[in-house]
């Protein structure tokens, strides 16, 4: 019956779209159209940190390094080679003969201008962690730069791949001056259209509606990203999930993601669509106030924290609710990240044991505020498990902008949080983010902090791994936080399309081709 509904819907959509002037997608036109619900401004990754911008930026732009999305190895892209000449100095030799899309030659000054611009404290860049380690960039020769770091930064190579596109020298000089509330003007750096060297050229951008990329015919040979295959790549914003599905079924769109698990099966049964799921880098966990930042909370008691762990059927949430691609999270990091281990103490689902622990701790009737901000059904499922173990959580579901100040001020006893590590494949972006006594740290364990600080700045990979493992084990042993699950994502796309599915919540369209 449900299959029938989808077919009805598909035919209906086809009838409705005819004559609506929808851009023709598909293999026949060599035009690949992908759609999500996000509205985006100019696709400058430094000033718009949506996932869609990251996807576009990977196709349009090149960074100094490229991390192969399958092998996770760092490969030379705009930099041909690199060496740490001191613990805080990274020297890079640049590739010669590379041209920007406007024909200008790429060189050291471009790297210095771009990175020096965004690493300025007042650059207004959104995810500062990516460039905050840079003190300054020095031009040594036309094909050589030296990056001076503020401190030893083993994750520097990670930061320099993908998430730091290089623009031409003087790129931001054309930023418009816009009125600031203090009566003066400020520069709106993010309003400049990106200009890059990558496999695709930005042809058109309609704010909030679409982005059109066309193949760069003179993309340099020998790029680890390969030669682009598909002629035109169009991004369209389609807010409504049902419309996305209808357009996919009728060929108006070739690729969508975020298909709800309950609809994935029906969609997969359609003849012209392929449905696939994969893990992402976004983790979902409970932050518990073990340090007592909110005051004298029962969560300072280890037994209570372990009881919360035992109370939640993480397996059921990951498998039945979050669905395909999702997995139970074992430790406070994502397994694909460097330094992340899942060999940590675990607490299986056991409501009876949870109740016993609470009773032992003298908190059989525990009432506690429970903050959440994203994917309410998941928060509700966690909440209901807690209730079934005899805890009385009061849900406070806020918009992120309302919750964030409370976290910073130390007012959230228990919070259901999610974090995508900004796409960085290193435990310094996840574990250290939450346990190095930052504003987000509700455990405040000095031992864990010191281990992590050492791991974050050590250049010996084995030593780093050992230190992260030590920290992660103690975090779970002490139940400072309850890792719940790692989000999955379900992709649905035209069967003509050969999609390079990866485990990094990305869509590497520059690698894609038609079948």
């Amino acid at each position: 019956m449900i299959g029938k509904t989808i077919r009805h819907l598909a035919i209906g959509a086809a009838a409705l779209l005819a004559g609506s002037g929808a851009a023709l997608a598909g293999k026949a036109n060599d035009t690949f159209v992908w759609a999500t619900g996000t509205e985006i401004g100019p696709p400058d990754l430094y000033y718009g940190n949506q996932r869609e911008v990251l996807i576009i930026s990977y196709a349009q732009c090149d960074s100094l390094l490229h991390r192969d999305p399958v092998s996770n190895e760092y490969k030379p892209l705009l930099a041909e080679s690199w060496t740490w000449t001191s613990p805080t100095t990274l020297e890079l030799v640049l590739r010669k003969g590379v041209k920007f899309h406007d024909g200008r030659e790429f060189g050291a000054q471009d790297v210095a201008d771009t990175l020096n611009h965004v690493s300025r404290p007042d650059s207004g860049m959104q995810i500062r962690v990516i460039i905050d380690w840079i003190k300054n960039v020095e031009v040594v020769a036309p094909d050589k730069v030296r990056i001076h770091a503020k401190a030893a930064t083993p994750a520097a190579l990670e930061f320099l791949s993908g998430t730091t596109p290089i623009y031409p020298r003087g790129h931001y000089e054309s930023a418009p001056s816009v009125p600031a509330p203090d009566g003066k003007t400020r520069r709106d750096w993010g309003a400049v259209k990106p200009m890059c060297t990558g496999p695709y050229i930005l042809k058109d951008h309609k704010p909030g509606q679409s982005v059109t990329l066309v193949k760069n015919p003179s993309y340099f040979a020998g790029s680890p990203k390969g030669k682009p295959q598909i002629g035109t790549i169009v991004y369209r914003t389609i807010k409504d999930a049902d419309t996305q599905v209808a357009e996919l079924l009728t060929g108006g769109v070739d690729w969508i993601w975020g298909v709800p698990p309950e609809n994935a099966k029906q969609l997969g049964a359609m003849p012209n669509v392929v449905v696939q799921s994969a893990a992402t880098m976004r983790m979902s966990f409970l932050s518990l106030d073990a340090a007592g930042r909110t005051g004298d909370t029962p969560l300072k008691d280890l037994r209570v924290r372990r009881a919360i762990f035992h109370a939640i059927d993480r397996e059921a949430i990951a498998k039945n609710l979050v669905g395909e691609g999702a997995a139970v999270q074992k430790s406070l990091c994502v397994p694909v990240q460097f330094g992340c281990t899942t060999d940590v103490p675990d607490y299986p689902y056991d409501p009876a044991k949870a109740k016993a622990l609470l009773k032992e701790a003298g908190h059989s009737n525990l009432s506690i505020p429970f903050y959440a901000y994203r994917d309410r059904p998941y928060s509700e499922a966690v909440l209901n498990y807690l209730r079934q173990a005899g805890i009385k959580p009061e849900l406070k579901f806020l918009q992120w902008q309302a919750l964030r100040p409370l976290i910073i001020e130390g007012k959230t006893e228990m919070a259901h949080l999610t974090f995508g590590s900004n796409g960085i494949l290193d435990a310094s972006a996840s574990t250290s983010y939450y346990f190095r006594h930052s504003v987000d740290d509700y455990a405040r364990d000095p031992e864990v902090r010191d281990w992590l600080a050492e791991a974050d700045t050590s250049t010996d990979p084995e030593k780093r791994k050992a230190l992260y493992a030590k920290a992660l084990k103690k975090i779970n042993e002490q139940a400072y936080a309850v890792p719940l699950f790692i989000y999955g994502r379900t992709y649905a796309y035209s069967k003509d399309f050969d999609f390079p599915l990866t485990q990094d919540e990305m869509a590497h369209f520059y690698m894609a081709r038609w079948k």
């Binding site: 009805h8 500062r128 509330p181």
Partner: protein, 305 residues
């Protein structure tokens, strides 16, 4: 009459001025705009930086005066999310909402005036009852539920009309019906009572006694008088629709002002939010002013009261 208009103009200007203060303080006092704009997992230093960059650290009245000054000079601010001038963003979304509002009002009038007239001609009969029930059903139906129902019936089951987006004129049919239906009870009731009053008036009775055709009496003498308050109500209802279209635009993914408002709330694009609040409120105030003046022009009695 001139004195009346000047007086109303002044009051409207004052209303808009006060409303702009309310709109501004709503956005600035109920939350921390800098934290909202900084986005997910921003460090406190980043929030501080944004607060300085955008000038949120200055006294609120100073910020307000700067904002109003710019607004009057035609500069509506800047969308920090879309990196566009607010004026540009509004200009892009306004036509959709205006189209939707006008079509919805047309639907509401087209349904409720005939119903009201029919009810007035046959008061306390089955015609009257049915007309009343059609209108009252509009009050009991939550607009989003009605919209979902329309989508299900006309989009999914019958497949007659598109249900999402604003590409063609057909896209506006269902949203206009969903939005307009809400205004029918009030307009219908007012038409009915106005009509009944007019039909009982002396000159209508006289006209009838003179043997004028029934239809002519109804239209020339009845409806013409009954319509005066309806015009005023219609203008006010149009104002309500502009403010209430947020739910309908969201359900149908119509990229109008309401949709923009809801998106901007979610991404903390505060300069857009406060501009929309002000634009919608000002539009309502101006429409009310027009209704008042029109009313006064058509019916001199009002000017005295």
């Amino acid at each position: 009459m001139l004195r009346f208009i000047v007086q109303r103009l002044l009051v409207t200007a004052l209303v808009i001025a006060v409303t702009s203060m309310v709109a501004f303080s709503l956005v600035h006092l109920t939350g921390d705009p800098a934290a909202a704009m900084a986005g997910e997992n921003a460090a406190p230093e980043d929030v501080e930086a944004i607060r300085r960059t955008y000038g949120f650290d200055r006294p609120i009245w100073e910020q307000y005066l700067t904002w109003v000054g710019r607004f009057l000079a035609g500069d509506f601010g800047r969308s920090h999310y879309l990196k566009l001038g607010v004026g540009e963003v509004l200009a892009e979304h306004m036509p959709v909402t205006a189209t939707l509002g006008v079509l919805a009002l047309a639907f509401a009038l087209g349904l409720s005036i005939p119903l009201g007239v029919a009810a007035a001609l046959r008061p306390n009969t089955i015609v009257d009852r049915v007309a009343l029930w059609i209108a009252v059903a509009g009050q009991a139906l939550p607009s989003f539920l009605f919209a979902l129902g329309l989508i299900y019936v006309f989009g999914v089951l019958l497949r007659w009309l598109p249900v999402s987006g604003d590409a063609t004129w057909q896209h506006f049919i269902l949203p206009s019906v969903a939005l307009g239906y809400y205004a029918t009870p009030a307009i219908m009731r007012l038409t009915r009572s106005g009509m009944m009053e007019a039909l009982q008036s002396d000159h209508v009775r006289t006209a009838r006694a003179f043997g004028l055709s029934r239809w002519r009496v109804v239209v020339r003498h009845g409806l013409r008088h009954a319509i005066i308050p309806v015009v005023s109500l219609a203008a006010v209802q149009l104002g309500f629709m502009l403010g209430g279209s947020i739910v309908i635009e969201t359900v149908f993914s119509l990229k109008g002002l309401g949709y923009l408002a809801w998106q901007s709330i979610q991404r903390a694009d505060i300069e857009v939010i406060q501009a929309i609040l002000l634009v919608i409120a000002a539009t309502y105030a101006v429409l009310t002013l027009l209704a008042d003046i029109l009313n006064a022009a058509l019916d001199p009695r009002i000017r005295i009261g």
